[in-house]
């Protein structure tokens, strides 16, 4: 049985591995956690996801940019792949679910991928539909999954025109769907005019916005 000191050492090591963008160390330390019988949930939450919260702060304060974020995410994913099979439902509770995709006509997905990283780090189950997602697919997936949140992004002024129709289709199939939008040409006012329930200015604020949106909608 690992000592508290050893557990702390490994958890801190995972935290540092994500901050330092070290995928190999994250993977190796995660395996060590498993091999030494340490609480995988603690390693995941206090190590990996806590580090991604810090990464989000570093991104918001312009100390980290997209290259760093992507590499930190690689380290996060490497660790998650090892630890997640050892985390039980009793430990996590029922996970919130999010469907995410870039709207039809738009192939720009960096922003969407950054948002996805934040939700994965936040412990959500993410259903990533990819880019250039046909509008009806958002509605079909929501009808199947009944995700807590549907998040749609657009980078182009032309593709953003698809968003009101996507929202209408989703809500026709699931009137209680909570939909948030994001992307460079959008503002909160535009998102509201399109019928969305929420809007995130960037990846760093997306999880907080989703939680606030759900609280506003009392979901």
């Amino acid at each position: 049985m690992a000592t508290e000191e050893r557990t702390h050492e490994l958890v801190q090591g995972l935290y540092d591995a994500v901050i330092n963008m070290d995928e190999d160390v994250a993977r190796d330390l995660s395996q060590t956690v498993v091999d030494e019988g340490i609480d995988a949930y603690r390693a995941l939450t206090q190590g990996l996801t806590a580090a991604m919260e810090k990464v989000g702060e570093l991104y918001t304060t312009s100390q980290y940019f997209v290259p760093e974020l992507l590499l930190c995410a690689d380290a996060l994913y490497a660790g998650l792949e090892v630890l997640q099979p050892y985390v039980t439902l009793e430990q996590t509770g029922k996970k919130r679910q999010i469907i995410i995709g870039t709207v039809e006509g738009d192939i720009h997905d960096i922003g969407k991928n950054l948002v996805k990283i934040m939700f994965v780090a936040g412990g959500w189950t993410v259903h990533d539909l990819g880019k250039d997602v046909v509008l009806s697919r958002f509605a079909e997936e929501q009808a199947k999954i009944h995700a807590d949140v549907v998040a749609i992004s657009a980078l182009m002024t032309t593709s953003m025109l698809a968003m009101p129709k996507a929202i209408a289709l989703i809500k026709a199939g699931d009137p209680h769907a909570a939909i948030m939008l994001g992307g460079a040409p959008l503002t909160r006012d535009i998102a509201e005019s399109y019928g969305a329930d929420g809007y995130a200015d960037d990846a760093a604020g997306a999880v907080r916005e989703a939680k606030e949106m759900l609280a506003r909608l009392k979901r």
Binding site: M21, S62, L70, I107, N113, T157, T158, M160
Partner: protein
């Protein structure tokens, strides 16, 4: 009734000679998509139909009273030319060509990358368009050709795919420098040949794009990877006799401005900025150049005509106060599906408030 005295060409030429025109010129950035749809063509025609695009642009700029700058191209240029595949826009919500396969899928593909010949990818279409454009120069047309340099970083992003390329900035900086160097040298070698074909009269230098924005990379990364080629490319254009470059500083670049300001964009340069950068701030960094901008394109699409009018009025009233020259423009591509009534309001506001 319009009280126009100078033509749009005369206005721009006045600014290029450090003189004040009678009124602020109107030069929306890349109205190509809007122009083809306005003339009942398809969005794909903006990228596949040189004649359709040319005459659509010509008519649109005439109808709306704009500077006519014939240019045919797209932001993801490079992927197709260097051996990848693109898909032309076709759907209701499509706007531009998209890359469906990058020429470099993994690091091991880099040694096999070949520099494109004159018939690769988009080049034949662009040549056809340029041939048409060089046949005339109208009274709203200060330039009828373009020569581009200092865009190797953006092309590299398209060759490798942005996600992968951005990771390489940190993991494989040597690879990135090599790739940018190859592409910049290929570009520099083409410049004297382009000069032979087009000369310098009526030819505008061009540079810019979104890939170096601070929404993607840090100012330090911009300085290391993007800036050297921009500086060198522009220096070569100056040395070849191209007096002015229009640089499209696309998106959030506030922290990059000290670096952009190190580049010689000409005598004067035309510095195009988006809504992310204040006109006054741009003028501080480029006190001797012409500032162009900076209406948020999203307003033209999603706002009311009154919103567009007021937002244009604000741009123009602020632009006129700048110590350097000023041209009204959109911060990025005029949205192809912007309502015509909204687009008309840009011209109306400039005609109402743009006189000196």
């Amino acid at each position: 009734m319009s009280k126009d005295v100078m033509t749009e060409r005369q206005r721009v030429e006045a600014l290029l000679n450090y003189k004040r025109p009678d009124r602020v010129p109107i030069w929306p950035f890349v109205p190509n998509g809007f122009a083809v749809l306005y003339n009942n063509l398809t969005i794909a025609d903006a990228y596949t139909n040189p004649e359709g695009l040319y005459y659509s642009l010509r008519k649109t700029c005439q109808d709306f009273g704009w500077v006519f700058f014939p240019w045919m191209g797209y932001a993801s240029f490079g992927a197709w030319e260097f051996g990848g595949d693109i898909k032309m826009p076709s759907g209701e919500y499509d706007q531009a060509p998209v890359v469906t396969r990058h020429p470099v899928e993994k690091e091991e593909d880099l040694p096999n990358l070949k520099m494109p010949g004159p018939d690769a990818g988009f080049f034949p279409t662009a040549r056809s368009f340029s041939g048409l454009a060089r046949q005339e120069r109208l009274d709203n047309e200060p330039f009828n050709a373009v020569i581009t340099s200092g865009v190797a970083y953006g092309i590299s992003c398209q060759i490798a795919g942005v996600d992968k390329f951005l990771k390489w900035l940190i993991r494989k900086p040597g690879l990135v420098h090599d790739l940018i160097r190859q592409i910049s040298e290929w570009n520099y070698a083409s410049l004297p040949l382009q000069k032979e074909m087009f000369g310098t009269e009526g030819v505008l230098g061009f540079c810019g794009g979104p890939w170096g924005s601070n929404k993607l990379i840090s100012p330090k990364q911009f300085a290391e990877f993007t800036l050297p080629d921009i500086k060198e490319g522009q220096a070569r254009l100056r040395a070849l006799g191209y007096k002015t470059t229009y640089v499209h500083i696309c998106g959030e670049h506030n922290a990059n401005l000290p670096y952009w300001a190190q580049v010689d964009f000409g005598d004067p340069g035309i510095i195009g900025i988006g809504a992310e950068i204040e006109l006054e701030k741009a003028a501080e960094y480029f006190p001797d150049d012409i500032i162009l901008g900076n209406l948020d394109p999203a307003i033209v699409q999603t706002g009311t005509p009154e919103d567009v009018y007021e937002a244009t009025k604000e741009c123009v009233e602020r632009g006129k106060q700048l110590g350097c020259g000023y041209i009204f423009s959109t911060g990025c591509d005029l949205p192809p599906r912007a309502p015509v009534e909204n687009v008309k309001m840009m011209t109306k506001a400039v005609e109402d408030y743009g006189w000196y």
